[in-house]
């Protein structure tokens, strides 16, 4: 983990309210599913913004995010060359070395980007990977995933492309040795419940409002069988059997 001043290399709008921002990065190696705290403002916003990384290349790292509030709106306005402060990599990442065989990756909305590097690494390790991508209306990042994996299933709640409905309808977890998921909690909870019933190992990436991002302030906790756990440092990836799901 380190705190550094980076520069925006590019900023691209890829769908309504969805952006990909690439910034300079010379820091530590990352694990798929890890995130960074980002900031490009002074005191008007008292918190940094936790965002999972999308792609990592030599000397740069990119973040795919949706404008959901003031912070992400400010991020989206950063132009090439703008300064940005980044803290990371943070969190535990998906446990790619704990799974083997046929793996399902299920992403919903802006939960999709962290699955890119996850898929890449699982494939490099010789696993078979099926990717399930759930969208509300507009598709994004599909081409990126298509470049690395030829088994992709798409759902769209309101739209003509792919299956018309929820991504959870497409997943038959009993066909897999393990499932990794990142997206809306309602989607992940459904997947976790499904996997528990069929006894399939499942890991969820939990999003929580964060303060420090490094484990000191205890505001981003998730309830687990062994007590409250910090999603920034003991997560964001949790084993579905440990999490207490509402």
């Amino acid at each position: 983990m380190q705190y550094s001043n980076a520069k925006v290399i590019s900023q691209e709008k890829i769908a309504s309210d969805i952006y990909v921002m690439t910034v300079s990065y010379e820091g530590e190696e990352t694990l798929p599913g890890q995130f960074f705290m980002l900031k490009a403002w002074e005191n008007q916003l008292p918190l940094m913004r936790p965002i999972s990384y999308f792609k990592k290349e030599p000397g740069k790292i990119s973040f795919m995010y949706r404008i959901v509030g003031k912070g992400t709106l400010l991020l989206s306005k950063l132009k090439k060359g703008a300064k940005i402060e980044i803290l990371g990599p943070l969190g535990n990442g998906f446990p790619c070395d704990q799974v083997k065989g046929k793996i399902a990756l299920v992403g919903g909305g802006v939960g999709i980007p962290p699955l890119y590097d996850t898929a890449k690494i699982l494939l490099q390790m010789g696993n078979q990977v099926d990717i399930f991508l759930g969208y509300k209306d507009e598709l994004f990042a599909l081409e990126d995933f298509a470049e690395i994996c030829d088994s992709i299933f798409v759902s769209c709640e309101k739209g003509d492309e792919g299956y018309n409905g929820f991504v959870t309808d497409l997943l038959h977890c009993e066909h897999y040795d393990a499932v990794f998921t990142c997206g809306p909690e309602i989607m992940m909870n459904k997947i976790a419940t499904m996997c528990r019933q069929k006894n399939i190992p499942v890991w969820l990436s939990m999003e929580r409002r964060m303060g420090c991002g490094i484990g000191a302030c205890l505001v981003c906790t998730c309830e687990t069988n062994s007590g409250m756990k910090r999603s920034c440092s003991e997560g964001p990836i949790f084993n579905g059997n440990d999490l207490i799901i509402d």
Binding site: M1, Q2, Y3, M37, K39, N43, Q44, L45, P46, L47, M48, L87, R209, M210, G211, C212, G213, I214, G215, A216, C217, L218, V219, C220, T221, E223, G227, M228, S233
Partner: protein
């Protein structure tokens, strides 16, 4: 020659209750854990001191639901004193904290006087430097907050705990006190060795889509730059009315903020919420404070402390 060198040296140190802090920057309780996480970014031993995450006699899991919410120039939190309990702190965290070489403060909360006293008895047996009695947490339903509001209740609590306390005791005041001056004077009269203020302001936010409060506990504690002017006013009022040392807390982000609190009479300051948006801030403040003293020709804190 030797004399000259000595005189020109800037002294950031400050002494509170006979204990030397190498500089007046202390990490505020609840924002800094036990220092381990920030130590991955810089040597936290350089700080004047660290006030531990709020401890209670027994382990607490804290509050459910949303625990943090950003507001205009501030944040609200409702953690609810999640902590491993005093005994685990003494066993697992204190030896490491003591190895850092700065002042270690145990921030102690509770819901009953008996719990406070039992916690103090355990801490008495350790090499902890200070106990900061937290009578001001707004996020614990019983105990904490009532103690921080009524000065007569605070007087009794401080007197009862001070009787068993063998460590210098800082009492951390709530800005939600009915009257901050009376509260400070009551704590001083009850035996507080020093005072720290302010803790967070009781605030509220509503999720208008869900038509419900953001926080499960309805109210939460507001901190950050938004509270600084009020915190400074309270520190000024308290410093004019008590003789014990005062540690200023509340929305401090810059060296100028620190100087303001010192000019109002504070012997040291605590940095809390600022750590979140500026993870290196404590280190930077120490470096910048020294530069500021150099530039302004200030040789030691006492030259400017309480000059307002």
């Amino acid at each position: 020659m030797f004399g000259l060198t000595y005189k020109s040296k800037i002294m950031l140190e400050t002494i509170i209750n006979g204990i030397k802090f190498k500089n007046p920057i202390i990490a505020a309780s609840g924002t800094y854990g036990f220092g381990r996480e920030y130590n991955n970014l810089y040597n936290v031993g350089m700080l004047g001191g660290i006030s531990s995450k709020g401890l209670t006699l027994h382990k607490r899991e804290g509050n459910k639901g949303i625990r943090i919410f950003e507001t205009a120039s501030g944040i609200m939190n409702s953690v609810g004193l999640q902590n491993p309990g005093v005994e685990t702190f003494i066993k697992d965290e204190l030896p490491w904290m003591k190895s850092l070489g700065n002042v270690v403060i145990a921030n102690l909360g509770g819901s009953t006087i008996e719990d406070y006293i039992e916690g103090i008895r355990l801490l008495n047996k350790t090499d902890i430097d200070f106990i900061e009695l937290n009578i001001s947490c707004p996020n614990v339903k019983s105990g904490g907050m009532a103690l921080g509001i009524k000065s007569n209740i605070a007087f009794d609590a401080v007197k009862a705990t001070k009787e068993v306390c063998q460590k210098p005791m800082i009492v951390k005041l709530s800005p939600n006190a009915e009257n901050i001056i009376e509260m400070a004077m009551a704590c001083e009269a009850a035996g507080a060795d020093s005072l720290s203020l302010v803790n967070t302001f009781k605030g509220m936010a509503i999720d208008i889509k869900r038509r419900k409060p953001i926080f499960d506990n309805t109210y939460a504690g507001l901190s950050g730059a938004a509270i600084k002017p009020i915190a400074l006013r309270m520190v000024d009022e308290v410093c004019k009315n008590v003789r014990v040392p005062v540690i200023g807390i509340g929305g401090i982000y810059t060296v100028e903020d620190i100087i303001e609190f010192i000019m109002a009479g504070a012997s040291a300051v605590q940095i809390g919420t600022a750590n979140f948006s500026e993870p290196m801030i404590c280190k930077e403040l120490i470096e910048n404070l020294e530069k500021y003293f150099q530039k302004e020709g200030i040789k030691k804190i006492e030259e400017i402390r309480g000059i307002i």
